[in-house]
Symmetry: C2
Subunit: 374 residues, 2 copies
């Protein structure tokens, strides 16, 4: 009878052999998906095919069950593998939706987000030029004959930049990618008489491609003239979400302004309370670690980005004051020991969240499983 150690070594060798086979299999799969990417880019088909993905997951879940393999395991693995395969496919070109488009000018096209769009337009066979802050003396030449001008400068410069664009061709589409929409949209409509659209890409400049990303589009003028642009975003893999500029700004004031500000205040509070951050991290359960990650991650970033957003609209100050007052109002329940009132408020909010609360809880659980693995 072999010893325990010998039996374990035997098992481990078998596992290693199976893992080698897994790597071989991944290499083969990637070679095939690369061929798919090549074929698709020949004819400009979108890389991302939601129907194919969904039917593939459903079929493999059934197969897994039949073989006694966890259905969630196979779906999670395939999702991760497919995510990787997109990367290998993204290097290829994209279909050009509007070959009649003469020139695309991205103002701030050397900035982080601008660069991403410049690259995507170039890979879709558009002629694309950038206009940086030192180029304004040649702006007439650069902007002349443009079919599309995209303003991609920092939020504090957006308004002044738009106001300089009063000489565009009347068929030219004017767009911006600022994270607020109402005020730039008004500025664009005032300065330019042609097609106008306000865009808010809901992702940072560090994405590797637009697959499964969202771009918000707020209608300005002549949507039929810029329909091709939104279709081009679809070809790049993005979903376009149309919304009124005012509704966009209200929602963003809650998620961007209020949430960021409150996170900054929480970080400040942790520091001022003399918390031992190392100990806090060591003690944290997965969910608290996730909370800490969401706070700490902000402070690794450029404060100017957040400051500009927070200081941009004075209306947000009143909204945030209302938060502080609601916070103190709830705290008053705690101070007076009014548990029932507190629970009633909690239940009111639960009801307001509706089905989202339970689906968020389920989502957070699968996310925590993944967080634990990091």
């Amino acid at each position: 009878m072999p010893s325990i150690e010998e039996r374990l070594t035997q098992c481990r060798n078998e596992i290693d052999e199976l893992d080698h086979q897994l790597i071989e299999l991944l290499a083969k799969r990637r070679a095939v998906t690369k061929r798919v990417g090549d074929i698709k880019s020949e004819v400009g088909m979108p890389i991302f095919s939601p129907e194919r993905e969904a039917s593939l997951f459903a079929a493999r879940r059934v197969d897994a069950k039949n073989k006694g393999v966890s259905e969630d395991l196979i779906e999670d693995l395939l999702r991760r593998i497919i995510q990787d395969s997109y990367k290998s496919q993204e290097v290829k070109g994209y279909r050009c939706i509007n070959p009649n488009c003469k020139k695309v000018v991205v103002i701030g096209g050397k900035g982080q987000l601008g660069k991403l769009f410049v690259d995507l337009f170039a890979r879709s066979q558009y002629e694309v030029t950038t206009l940086e802050k030192d180029d304004w003396e040649n702006s007439d030449v650069i902007l002349s004959g443009a079919s599309l001008v995209i303003v991609a400068v920092p939020i504090r410069l957006t308004s002044a930049t738009i106001k300089k664009l009063d000489q565009l061709d009347k068929h030219c589409i004017l767009a911006d990618v600022t994270s607020v929409k109402e005020s730039p949209l008004n500025d664009m409509l005032t300065v330019h008489s042609g097609p106008v659209v306000g865009l808010h890409p809901m992702f940072g400049p560090d994405v590797s491609g637009l697959i499964k990303q969202t771009i918000i589009a707020c209608e300005g003028r002549n949507p039929e003239k810029y329909a091709w642009l939104l279709e081009q975003f679809n070809v790049w893999g993005a979903t376009v979400y149309a919304v009124e500029a005012s509704a966009h700004d209200k929602a963003m004031s809650m998620v961007q302004v209020m949430r960021h500000f409150s996170t900054i205040a929480y970080g400040y509070h942790l520091m001022e309370e003399g918390v031992d951050i190392a100990q806090l991290v060591d003690m944290s359960s997965p969910i608290y670690r996730l909370e800490l990650i969401m706070v700490g991650r902000l402070f690794a970033q450029n404060p100017i980005l957040y400051t500009d957003i927070i200081f941009n609209d004075p209306n947000n100050i009143q909204m945030m004051k209302r938060f502080a007052h609601r916070f103190l109002e709830l705290l008053d329940d705690v101070e007076k020991g009014q548990k029932d009132d507190f629970v009633a408020t909690f239940n009111g909010v639960s009801e307001w969240f509706g089905d989202y609360a339970s689906s968020f809880l389920a989502e957070s659980k699968s996310l925590l499983l993944k967080a634990k693995e990091l």
Copy 2:
């Protein structure tokens, strides 16, 4: 020359065939890891072997690179596969560290968290009994001869429950699993003259096992007498983190009390501001979706759990008032347009977070990749 559609179908058939091979491979791998689990439980070896895992990842990353496969891809896949394999191994029994332990009594052992411990002790060949609220008239019989008594009742009942335990054998270990530690620890030390330890399991009752989970242990009395218990936690896969009760409570007031309270206030604020939650979800980028998940998930849970924690210690009220005042102090910078002051505060907090800020940012990025796939 075959048509585009034919060529794509050919590729898709090849992918399906490779995915079938993947499922076969997973079934084989699971059979081997189950054998590993069987061998380990024969001799009571811990299932989780951090060294074996680390060396396995390192070796497979090298192999992947040599085959042109992404190193992160193979590591992510193996982590997910290993997580699944733990589940198949967890059904087996665990080694019993202290066969001399006569009886374990879990007070509240039919509650969610209590049940988890009852199950683990039973699967480690301990005699384990529960004591529920209707059992107190027989408590003398139930507690008699116990080597270990664990208090696992809701936080609002902990103190009263501990005070009833004045008749334990002086060699019996008394422990609790409440999420605050200083006050229950004092209660236990007062009522019982034998070994005492305060425990805080940093996980919810919905975990499938203790592998990679943390249990905080606050020393009470005679740590040498309960060392076997902490070792038993290790056998179950948990990490034991020793800390002073007061330091624990301070840290928890920031992550549990303050963070939960502030999240509840934020949910209340969203509702009161008349936000359209469906629209907010649709518009959200991965990071905002994650923020919303962290808020909404709370409201799918039992308010009593959070209310009890928030109302437990009046000292936290003052601490939370300080947060509200810091929030308004920072908001004052915004109102007065003092960007420089605001940025200076931001930078101060960044410095305080130190290296954690950038590692949290990196962690959040990999997490977002995973969130996008949900």
